[in-house]
Structures are given as structure tokens and as C-alpha cells.
Symmetry: C2
Subunit: 349 residues, 2 copies
Amino acid sequence: MKAPTGNPDRGPAPFTERAFLSGLRRAAPSAPKNPSLILGPGDDAALWRPRAGFEAALSCDLLAEGVHFDLRWTDAWSLGAKAAAVNLSDLAAMGAQPSAFLVSVALPRRAGLGEPWLKAFHAGLRAYMGAFGASPAGGDLSASRSGVFIDVTVLGEVERGRALRRSAARVGDAVFVSGPLGRSAAGLRVLESRPLARRLGARLAEALAQSHRLPVPQVLAGRWLLQERLARACVDLSDGLASEAWHIARESGVALEIDEAAVPLGPGVADAAAALGKAPHDFAYFGGEDYQLLFTVPERRQAQVLARMEHYAGCRPARIGTVRAGRGVRVRAGGRLRSLEDGGHDHFR
Amino acid sequence: MKAPTGNPDRGPAPFTERAFLSGLRRAAPSAPKNPSLILGPGDDAALWRPRAGFEAALSCDLLAEGVHFDLRWTDAWSLGAKAAAVNLSDLAAMGAQPSAFLVSVALPRRAGLGEPWLKAFHAGLRAYMGAFGASPAGGDLSASRSGVFIDVTVLGEVERGRALRRSAARVGDAVFVSGPLGRSAAGLRVLESRPLARRLGARLAEALAQSHRLPVPQVLAGRWLLQERLARACVDLSDGLASEAWHIARESGVALEIDEAAVPLGPGVADAAAALGKAPHDFAYFGGEDYQLLFTVPERRQAQVLARMEHYAGCRPARIGTVRAGRGVRVRAGGRLRSLEDGGHDHFR
């Protein structure tokens, strides 16, 4: 439904959908040609087909103002980049190669949300999508009577029948994360609390905030794990480690046992935790939005992950536990084994 | 980004995303198996591939409360159905067969928007999508600090290289619409104005309102036109006839000449126009949301459309004009030829 893009109370909107789509096409004119995208935005639908031997991986993520982002501390470029990153991360979790995306945006009439804002949003979205190989296939622009809403759908290509599933973990597998955790949650706390930012110092505070604003989707890691046939189950850490580990445990019908001392925390997370009087690992378990991968690997192949993944996928994997018979998620810390609750952000707050 | 679905100010939301997705899967358990959808919702991404010889048609449409719908006169089931219909209509315009969809919903905490509302929304969405062959492939659920937002992405399958494009009209083609126009715009007026509804009488008012609430996407018509190799250019009438005719004229580099007397108006449109003191054809030209197809056909094949389309595609096509050399859209009425403005809803209001 293309019309009306204007708020009926206040006359036509400053952009038309046509301008929105051509802005999207223009935002990265130097991107290489995408052979799977036969027809880009502009007609009633785009046309796309996977390369021979591949199938499509499809995912969508909605970002709502005041729930997922706050425009007081998120600029338009970073918001576009983040909208791309959270979607690309879902493809990474399947081991898929990003190929195309569609984006819908609802924008209220409000100072600061004019054409320059939308241009910067497009540029951030295209920069991240383009960096990982995804081209624009379509979009929709609407007025909003209230907040900003952004919904992105991504398409990736994955070798037929070989996508990394949550349900494929087996008893005895080694459990890995693709990199350090907790920085995004610490960064969110810094953005929400000036006193915390002051206590940590401007440079660390900004570095943590940046981890929250601009997560890096682990597309290379997912592709490498699939192509080397190393990962059994895989999921991305959009929520905290706790709830994502529960996903694998539940869908695979196994238990995950995590060794707390082996869970890598990002630089500065311990400082933020100390300043807030919180347990540092809770940032990893319940904080969310780290967008690293959580995956299981046959025990006999773990050496390969440790020896080569950094070299080929540019990330620093850590073995954090083992798949056991049973169900649920347990953490071993200080000689004791305790159950880890299946909770995300809400639990942390 | 799956968390948080709760409004942080008011505790956790009544639904989780998991419940949202399983509700979506359950909403039409009797739907036939879809061979192109290899993995439905529940993992980080769905897996899909077109049948051999086909490619994917992709489109998304965003509906925002207070802009595209008003919950005072739109129940949840109808809103789900309409969200499906507007997206299916984009596939119809390409001649594609619907196959899968993803849906993102942002819901505020508000009386009446609880689990029963969401169930009814799902049921309406699934009923329409299912009726035209599309299965759920994914979705996202978010809290909203303000209004209801719905974004749907659809995937269809279309024979490789044969999708119906806006840019394919040729000079001399006959211009057709797949059915009568103007009822949706008249229905919207009825919903907005009780005095108008009273003047038209309850039965006609309700029939017009229903045309606005539950448009029927012309999927069969699009498929038939493609398979019979009849249509050159095609577009769906999501906006009014004026702006959609301009799309074809612009993208094909031609002019469209429309014979006003041949433009079919839906039953009751003339009555609504008379009651409002408006020109009846303005409902067709600028009203929008009729979701019929506008298409061009080689002159020598128009008899085939007129003789068979109703039988095979269940619609009542009308020839409304001719493609001419030049540019723009012209209307012939009362012996005079005038230019038709490239305007949609805003113009009509």
C-alpha cells in the first residue's frame, strides 16, 4: 500500500516512496553487481533467484523507537547500520551469504527527521549491507503518527540442505562462542547513565557505547563454519547467552553445560559491572545484542576451530562448555553447578 | 533483535516472540504442504527455494495505525487479511504465484490489543495468505511505545524472465483494468462519515465499507495474464488509476489515453459521489486501494481477454484505453482530451 506517505493532518510528507527507493539505490552506487538480484526496487516486486545449488535463507527484524533504540543517542547512520547488522546476524547464524534486503520505514513529522536524516539512515544501512554483499531489493516508506519504526527483511544464499540449525547439537559436542561478550549491554548502560559514563572515563565509555551502536555481524564466521563443515548447531547472540543457549538445548533436546571461567568478556565489561555493583557475567548471560555466534562442534574437531577460525573468519572463538545429555542450561562456577535461567533483557533489567 | 518485547516501563509483554511465531504456524494447520518452503519460522532464518525454472518475486508493505488503518473501524481479522491482500496484490501485478511471507508487528499496551486481538490478526492474515498459497516463513514481534505497525514481506514464484513489468507497454496496446474501481475509496468515506453512511443506507454503506476493509488481490488474474502471454505491462491499483497509469507511462516511455466512459465504476460509487458532490470518476482516478490490475495487451489479442478472462480468472476486465506515442496520461471525456494529474490519495483529499 504505497499511499499516503503524508500525515493527512499536515499535508504531504517531504519524501515520496519513489524518492525513498531511488535514494536507497543511489546510496552505494559502487557496489558490485549482484548476479542473484535480477530486478531491484522500482517495480511492484523485485526478482531474485539463488545460484544453482543454493537456497534462500530469510529473516526479518523490527526495530521500534523507544523499545530498541533511542534517537537521543543513536544517529541516523548508526541506526541504519544497526538495522542491517541485526538482520545480517540472523543469516550468519544459518551460515548463509547475504544477498538482498527489503526495508520498510515509518517516519513521524518531527524536527530532525527530514531528508538529511533519511539519507544518513540509507547510507548506514547500505554501507553495512553492502559490506556483507546484500543489495536493496525493495522497500516501503510510510508516515507515522508516533515513533520511528524500521523493519528489514534479508535474503541470503546457503548451500542446499546445509544451513546451520539450532536443532543439530549432539551430546559430547564442544560449545563455542565466536568472540567476547557483554560489551553491548555495558554500552547500553553507559548511554543510559551519565554518572556511569563519567566514572568509566570518556574513552572507555565511548568505546562501550560504540559496541552497542554498531555491532558487527559474524557473517564470515558463519560462512566458514558451514563451508568447513565444523558447526553442528548455531545461533546468533541477539538475546543474551542464557536464552540463546536455551534455544539450542530445547531444539536439540540436550543440555548445555557452560564453564563460567571460560566465557570471554569484552574489554571494559568488568569495569562497568564493578561500577554498577553487578556480576560481570550477567552482562554476557542476560545482556544481549552482542551478535556473536554460539555454536557446537564435534569434540574431535575443536582444535581446528581454535587454530584456524581467527585466521579465516577474523573473530576470536572461545570454547565455553560441552553439550550433555538432559535438558536446560547449567553453569559451572567456583566448583558449583547451577541452572541458568532462560531469560533475556527483562531478567537483566 | 528479538528482545525486549515488553514495554520496559510496564513489565513484560503478554506475548513472547516464540508464542507469536507458533501462533502464526498454528493459525492454518490444514494448509497444504508448500514444497518451496523448506524450513518455516522458528530458527534464525527460514529456508526457501523456487521450483526449477522459477525465480522469486519479493515485495514489502508497511501499514501504520492512523495512516493506513483506524482501529475504530477495522477489526483484527480484517486488518490481518488486508495486510495480506495489499502484499499479495504486488505479486499479482508481476504475475507471480504467492509462496511465503514474513510479518513484523509492533503492538502497544492498550486495552483490546491483547492475545485475542493478535490471534484474530494471525487468523485473518493466514486465511488470506493461505487462500492464495503463501505459507508463513518468519516474523518478529515488538512492543510499541505508540501505535500499531505491521510490515509484511511476501515471496512469490514466477517463471524465469517472464514477470510482468511496468516498463513493457508498447504504442498501440489496449489498456485494461481487471475489474470495477472506486468502491474502496467510497467505502473509506463511508467509514469516516456517519452522515454519509446514513444517506446511503445501511446495506450499501456496509457493502462499500467491506470493499475497503477486504480487498481481493487479483492473483489469479496476474497468473492467467502471464501464463497466456497476454499482458505486456502490468501494475496493481494500490494507489489510484491516475498515479498507476503514470507509472506505466513513465517506465514504458509512452502515453496512456483513457476513455472515461469506459472506466468501470463499482456499484454504489456513483451514489457516494453524488452524496458528496464529487465527480464519480475521481474515486477511480485518485481514490486508490482497489487492488485491481491495470495492464496493457497487444491490440490483436484484446478479444481473448474479453472472451476468457472472466471465465479463467474470476474477474470482469474492461478495456479503458490505448497506449499512444508520447508521455503522460490523458483522459477523453465529453469529446475533450485532458491531462490526468499524477496524484494519489493526497490529491483526492
